[in-house]
Symmetry: D2
Subunit: 118 residues, 4 copies
């Protein structure tokens, strides 16, 4: 097992990750969060990262640093709309065995379902 000595400054973050996040502004007095979600989508578009929105969150792909920076900037953008508190729920996956896109993941499951594999 790896030794984690005191100097961790040279330890890299993963070159690639897969993050799905759902950002919730708290204390705004507004029940709808659609405008905030739209602001985040515009930010992600400007980031150049690959992303897809679904009904329960947004999935972003890229290097760990790029993806986390974009989600942090999303907090900043939503704070700028007036929300003083934000809570985000996130799932992040990394793997070293292969590169797998969002499409690959869904297609793999759909193939199993179509073929009736058990």
């Amino acid at each position: 097992m790896v030794s984690t000595s005191t100097d961790i400054s040279s330890l890299e973050t993963p070159p690639r990750c897969y993050a799905d996040f759902c950002l919730v502004p708290v204390g705004t007095g507004k029940l709808s969060v659609a405008e905030e979600v739209a602001a985040v989508q515009r930010l992600l578009k400007a980031s150049g990262l690959k992303y897809t929105m679904h009904s329960a969150g947004t999935t972003v792909e890229g290097s760990w640093d790029e993806v986390m920076r974009a989600i942090g900037q999303a907090h900043t953008v939503v704070h700028q709309t007036g929300a003083q508190r934000i809570q985000t729920s996130m799932r992040v996956g990394t793997r070293t065995d292969k590169t797998q896109t969002a499409e690959d993941k869904v297609k793999r499951v759909e193939d199993i379902l179509a073929n009736g594999e058990k």
Copy 2:
């Protein structure tokens, strides 16, 4: 604010909820989880609940009890495939002001983006 007396047996769970979950088998020695995800999709189909799979999870709609029962059964189904440990990450939303479907949520954001609202 509401009083929570000792007897909570009559307290209902929400009639409707919106849950997005990602189930991960642990300790199986297999990197792919596609077969387990496919087994869960078959279960959800059999449940009669409304659900959609995306690349980072699956979203299910229904009453709190129905949805949580289905996700619990998903754990059971995946345990039956041999996984001895399972970890699920879940987001669940409930609201009392209105009923909003998955499609409604996405469409609302897309409309804002299309209209260039800020």
Copy 3:
């Protein structure tokens, strides 16, 4: 692998699970959620389930059905305080190999750290 036939009514949910959740009221206009969290703690106490609060959520142990019912009732209690929308983030674990309590899990890690195992 298991067959999931159309009839899933006899499929049980796990007899034991471990859930950590963080409930966020949305659209209340209040930045603090401490009162809502306190209401949830009172509910959990009344439920008879084993639970512990920490700074980022609350961990509950029990059967899948009991735990999910309690968290659903927590949504109801917080809706009754006036919150019309609630978003909860949850992690749930189940295992079939052994029973492990919250204390066990923390102690196991602390032992490794104390022994300098790598």
Copy 4:
């Protein structure tokens, strides 16, 4: 509402955040994750950030960039132990109204419970 022009390079990430995460190695063939969790605790100690472990995750406090870098390094450290796939569930909170520590949050709820406020 804020304009998100094409240039987002000057947009900062939050100066402070509060993250609770649970990291799960996938496909290792080992049911226990205690050694991996211990490796992450050693890394966090070396990071100089404030953190606390509980039975369902670890909470870290610091600037957005520092905290996300540390969690990314945690993925790297666990990949170095041999895990080829890692899935992390995370909750991150930011607020602009005040600074609140982990202890503050828990104490606020305990005070409400002790005073019998409703």
